[in-house]
Symmetry: C2
């Protein structure tokens, strides 16, 4: 990096959470050009110390006053806290990259997966949101196919790991599994039902139409990121007893014909996507193997035999990395590359999603 | 039962397997009117003793000569063994109720879920097959809805427990889970990949079109049981680290409109089906809760927002019970009720499936 350009000071809010810790790891791995790094978390976690880039950093309690001098604030906390801290960080002059669902559907907030709609960072007003961890891998795979032939419908069933519910849920899976193996009965803690040797179609709360918010997010966020208003997306989001990486069985319908061979070719050329196994081959990605890696893995690409122009496939992606922390850092990298750290003066695109 | 009617002598082949053991439990629970009970298994398991109805029974080695005097033979072994033992049992005068995929698609063999197509037992030639454990719950739910409005397409993603792969796979899940919790690395045994804290879309072998045989069975068997030739069914069958009970996220498309409320009403009236939660309610079945019970549980019934006349729902069913052993016993009960133990002389219906 040109040493005359000031390296941005960054604040990491939620530094001790599952996404926050992954974020700090990726920051080092990618040698992200950060100036000062400030770590914030809840009062409960304040005082925790982390070694980042060789520096010993103490986590401070998150508050709206902690953003002075910050150029970029990465926020990975719940929506209520994001609503409070995000605007304070913008006020202090920082670009906010937010991991919660708080701002995602705000028409003045870009919702960005850099490989899909990186150019949307240009019109931010101080906040850029990252999508939900089950949406990101879907749009990474759908995007290159949609450029070949317009997608007309998506049907998705997910197999989501407990890391998507935070570090506490990972501990819950571990403890419950031990207890069940020892013949004890267990009670749910953070999660709505027993997760050890069990699954449940219940992520986030239920909405009036019978879908969960998690499932609604997949619909709305896909439309916004891919710039395809009105595309129908129906999903069932299911928690499974896996520590890290989300999987999904995906059925895509297209306006015109698209063969598994052509889809494989297009996906192989997509940055951030890795195709596992050719059409008809018996290799495929699994969450145990994919956890801790950066790419979106897609396998079992085949014709959807129940649709005229359909494809079925299997997608696996580490939800803490490309599904959250890595995507956030890639957004920051895109912002620096396009030199658009400051809020845009141009009008936000008006789209009906 | 009328004491003048001879109670049928039965032979249970595969008595020491996961399905066989469940079969013996259900036989007692339902007080099935059996005369003599003979237990057969592989040479490895011969000599095992079981207490059935208070009688102490020794398991003998399965061979084609072990069926003399049998009225009904329940066979739950692999297809190769079924191919050898099934015809021998028929030759000896028994009605064979077979759990393997060996005879299912034979046009001379009825494939039966009694609540759906019980009348098909009438035209058997000595063998009746039971469907694959992931097909049975699907047709139990699809059938009453299809009578209201014709189903035109099914898209299914399964979450299948290890008990579907037998007792050895259950032990493998237990042992691997312990090892992972202790920080050890594990190697797959019976199953194609690590199953502890992992999932994989690989049940049975792969076919040339990229689907597995398990997924192809769901298509072909659904058509045969429901008497709907050509109905398109596309599925992804996935193994999950659950001991018992299979789950599925199901999308059904219909010729005409059918509301979640009407579907709930129809399913509530279907014998063997239990609806959990009303439309928009947040209760739903899970495999941990359902394992060991007889019914097919359906929840999360909602409009498929990506289809004109579609419904999405969540189905859970104990694959060893209604998915296998219970269904087999219900077929025998239906045969006795209709008094059609002897092979039929009427022509098998010719249907294009």
């Amino acid at each position: 990096m040109d040493m005359n350009v000031k390296e941005p000071n960054i604040v990491v809010v939620g530094a001790t959470g599952a996404v926050g810790r992954e974020f700090l790891r990726i920051l080092e791995e990618r040698d992200f050009p950060a100036g000062e790094i400030r770590l914030l978390a809840s009062s409960r976690s304040a005082g925790t110390r982390f070694k980042v880039r060789g520096e010993d950093l103490e986590v401070r309690e998150a508050s709206p006053n902690e953003f002075s001098g910050a150029d970029i604030a990465f926020i990975s906390v719940n929506s209520q806290l994001s609503a409070q801290l995000g605007p304070a960080a913008v006020e202090a002059g920082a670009l906010v990259i937010d991991d919660s669902s708080c701002f995602r559907m705000d028409p003045d907030v870009p919702l960005v997966v850099p490989e899909v709609n990186g150019e949307d960072v240009k019109w931010h007003r101080g906040i850029i949101s990252i999508p939900n961890c089950s949406t990101t891998p879907l749009v990474m795979v759908a995007h290159p196919l949609n450029r070949e032939s317009a997608i007309t419908r998506m049907v998705v069933s997910t197999y989501q790991s407990v890391s998507g519910a935070g570090a506490g849920a990972m501990e819950e899976l571990r403890n419950q599994s031990r207890a069940v193996l020892e013949g004890q009965t267990v009670e749910p803690g953070n999660l709505p039902k027993q997760i050890a040797f069990n699954i449940f179609p219940h992520i986030d709360d239920f909405t009036a139409n019978g879908y969960t918010f998690e499932e609604q997010k997949m619909l709305q966020e896909t439309r916004k990121i891919m710039h395809i208003p009105h595309i129908p997306v129906s999903s069932t989001c299911v928690r499974v007893p896996v520590f890290g990486a989300h999987s999904a069985a995906v059925h895509l319908e297209f306006q015109g014909p698209i063969s598994p061979e052509r889809a494989t070719e297009l996906l192989s050329g997509m940055p951030g996507v890795k195709v596992v196994g050719g059409p008809g081959e018996s290799s495929y990605p699994t969450p145990w193997e994919v956890a801790g890696t950066d790419d979106v893995y897609v396998g079992r690409i085949r014709r959807d035999i129940s649709s005229d122009h359909g494809l079925a496939m299997w997608i696996v992606c580490d939800n803490l990395r490309k599904g959250a922390a890595l995507n956030a850092i890639q957004i920051a990298e895109e912002v620096l590359r396009l030199n658009c750290l400051a809020p845009s003066q141009v009008a936000a695109p008006s789209r009906s999603v």
